[in-house]
Amino acid sequence: MALNARKVVVLVLALGLVMALSVTGCKREAAVGDYPARALELVVPYPPGGATDLTARALVSVLPEFLGQPVVVVNKAGAARLEGGEYVSSAAADGYTLGLFPPSVGWPEVHFNETPYTSEDLTIICRVVVHPTAIVVRSNSSIQTFDDLVARLATPGFQYGHTGVGANPHVTMTALAKALNAEVVPVPFKGDAGVAAALAGGHVELGVTTLPGILPQIQAGNVRVLAIYSPTAVTELEGVPTLGELGYDLEVPYADSMICGPKDLPAEVIAKVEEAVRQAVEHPSFKKIMGQMYTPVAYLNYADYAAEMVTTKEAMKQLMQELGLIN
């Protein structure tokens, strides 16, 4: 069974050729008028299992009804999530490659110093949902209400756990502390699971995290929600105020999930996607899943969303600079 090196090389090349051919074979041209004529890709810049991933999977389970074509979720979490954004930004502007992005991937230049692409290379089509950020304490804490928290924060050096530097909970709490003129000590943990474990284990008293990630702890009565950061109250969380209702109008963008495509998307494609998503988010089965995640549907169309982003993006940039996270 002697190996012939040349044979191996030939075989590898042949296999490579077959793979290459099968890939190129998939690309077909289609006129804009027929859009969509084949399946779409929806890129999620996270590994499977998080709130954005789940939102995407719930969305693609109903989207075909309104688009007429299947939509496939593709997870591309590499390069600190920027790989998903770069992939969409460099795709053909035909509307077959879209992404469901958080703001950090939709406008990377606001979050990172070196980025392979910027929001200029993307078309931000519409907002789908907002993942609320929750301010929670352990249930055995003496802090009962948001007012108690404000009182405690008057003493400098209060520690809180968050889901990661520059992520929405961290930025939200920074902006809130600034509004309260309080000095807080952030402790980064690994994602919402890390914050949940730190709260359950008693390693921190206060946590700022994503609402879906802390949900089991809330339902079990291990933690108490003081307030959420979301454009609307969450009906399932009775009596929990939003920061806006409490009188704190932070300029931080919400943890949006936005549909993005490459730049220069034809207007027909934008309109078609926008309309299909608008209908999909009203679908009972999508609404049911979002309800179970305590995630409000917060659809915003292309024009309205673009108008809103003008201010939020600038505010975010300023906060990130104050935090020293970008130049």
Partner: protein, 507 residues
């Protein structure tokens, strides 16, 4: 007990039984392919569970999760290509056995070990989940720092050969682990403006390179030197009485050790097989056989990694905290059905909880029945001629590496680590400390920085809780022990392959 009976009644309903069978079948298949793991598969199956009952949906996803642990050993044993960090140790002794024509025995033992340990894991889960979950979350940043730090030092000693050389290689691993976006300051480290590096090196891609690709390169380098298995006789497909006897203890102990280690957050999947393996080597009357094809090595590592996977379910089911990526996807499965895992699971959804637990007993039995006949099929795959086998595995590895994050960069990382692995192998250097450095380094760093913030920089904080104080003293002791050991018994000048005999960890 009544609960469990009701659970079995639930799990044995047709739809649930079929869901379980589909889950474990799919799990086994994806487990066999290196790189392709349960995480992506469970995510793909998730939408299909939308229309199922919550019980059937969760049973199916859980089936994929533990089913994948059965398949994971196959490529490790046959081709020294571990598809995840948890299978590295299986690949060391397993591959040596395969080269001796005992691939069938190694595969069968790892299947039986997985079954026994999987069952131990389910029993542990059923009986102790709520109590153990509290232990799991008691491991905060301080505790984790001390454990990970102690593990790094201990491993340098345990791996054999020169402790200082192992530590040095581990430090290179730690350095490689720092590449990417720093999660505390947001600074990009060692990325040189090259954005794919922002996410760092993917561990699975690195492992597939260091072990699998380097093996393929070494075969290609010397195709005539590689030993071939001429034929596998039918009676050689299954373990002999002696092999079964020698594996019994390691499987049982591995099952318990793995479950215990599996509870801790972070590096459990890597540490569980390692602890189990070295416990067996210490207990063995013939420790020198470890690393050269000891069936006990396969039995201990494989059983521990299976029960560690049940251990990782404890914090999820009892507290609703997913400590591993796979547990996070499983949690999505609960959430979309409006069932929050956690303390209320057993109260509010008792039938679902016990149904899932019962289905895990059934699933493990199904996996045993499913996998044992496959042993023969896989063992014969060893006889495929090299010119077909080597490129075939190479392509499988490329597909697997790509599928981790759907990223071509990970394929490049795998190939580069393959070249590094080949270089290390020719120098007689063990890649294990490198992998451990990459696994433990980021954990040590993150938990150290968290501890310093939480304790406001005070060392007294480490004595603030009994658990931390004990661990602190223990890790100081380990540092002193390793220093003293190195001074009293200086490592023999280990030049190249000579070291292999001593470490016994090289292929």
């Amino acid at each position: 007990m009544e609960n469990l009976v009701a659970g079995f009644a639930e799990a044995l309903q047709w739809t649930n039984l079929i869901a379980c069978a589909i889950g474990v079948l799919v799990g086994t298949l994806v487990g066999v392919l290196p790189g392709l793991g349960p995480v992506a598969t469970m995510a793909i199956l998730l939408p299909f569970t939308f229309t199922m009952s919550p019980t059937a949906g969760i049973i199916m996803m859980a089936g994929v999760y533990y089913g994948a642990m059965y398949g994971g050993s196959t490529t490790s044993i046959l081709f020294r290509t571990p598809g995840e960090a948890a299978s590295i140790l299986t690949s060391i002794d397993g591959y040596e056995l395969a080269k001796k024509g005992r691939a069938g025995a190694a595969l069968a033992i790892s299947t039986i070990g997985s079954f026994v340990a999987g069952t131990i894991g389910v029993v542990g889960l059923m009986l102790f989940a709520p109590a153990l979950a509290r232990v799991a979350v008691a491991f905060g940043p301080g505790e984790l720092l001390l454990v990970a730090f102690a593990a790094l030092l201990l491993l340098a000693n345990i791996l054999g050969g020169s402790a200082s050389r192992n530590l040095l290689i581990a430090l290179v691993g730690v350095a490689l682990g720092t590449v990417g976006l720093d999660s505390f300051s947001g600074a990009s480290r060692y990325t040189f403006g090259f954005s794919p590096l922002l996410g760092g090196f993917d561990l699975v891609a690195a492992i597939m390179g260091l072990y699998g690709i380097s093996e393929l390169i070494s075969i290609a380098r010397n195709p005539h030197g590689a030993k071939r298995v001429a034929s596998v006789r039918l009676r050689d497909l299954y373990p002999s009485k002696d092999e079964m006897k020698r594996s019994t203890g390691p499987i049982l102990r591995g099952g318990v050790i793995g479950f215990g280690v599996g509870l801790t957050p972070g590096p459990a999947a890597v540490l569980a097989p390692l602890v189990s393996y070295f416990v067996e080597r210490r207990l063995s009357k013939t420790p020198e056989r470890f690393g050269k094809g000891a069936i006990e090595g396969v039995a201990s590592a494989e059983s521990a990694n299976n029960s560690a996977c049940s251990g990782a379910l404890v914090p999820l089911l009892a507290l609703g905290i997913p400590m591993t990526p796979a547990a996070a996807v499983l949690m999505s499965g609960f959430m979309i059905h409006g069932v929050a895992p956690g303390p209320l699971l057993m109260e509010k959804h008792a039938l679902l909880f016990w149904g899932v637990v019962a289905s895990m007993y059934i699933g493990n039995a199904l996996l045993l029945v499913l996998n044992l006949p496959l042993v023969g099929v896989f063992a014969r795959a060893m006889m495929t001629p090299f010119p077909i086998l080597v490129p075939g595995i190479f392509v499988l590895c490329m597909v697997g590496a790509y599928s981790i994050n759907n990223s071509i960069f990970d394929v490049t990382v795998m190939v580069l680590f393959g070249l590094l692995g080949d270089w290390m192998r020719r120098r007689g250097l063990d890649p294990m400390p490198l992998v451990l450095g990459m696994v433990l380094g980021p954990i040590v760093e993150a938990s150290l920085r968290q501890s310093l913030i939480l304790g406001s920089g005070s060392i007294g904080w480490f004595f603030g809780s009994n658990l931390r104080a004990v661990l602190f003293v223990l890790s100081i002791f380990l540092v002193l022990y390793s220093v003293v050991k190195d001074i009293r018994k200086p490592a023999k000048p280990a030049a190249g392959p000579a070291a292999d005999e001593k470490t016994g960890l090289h292929a």
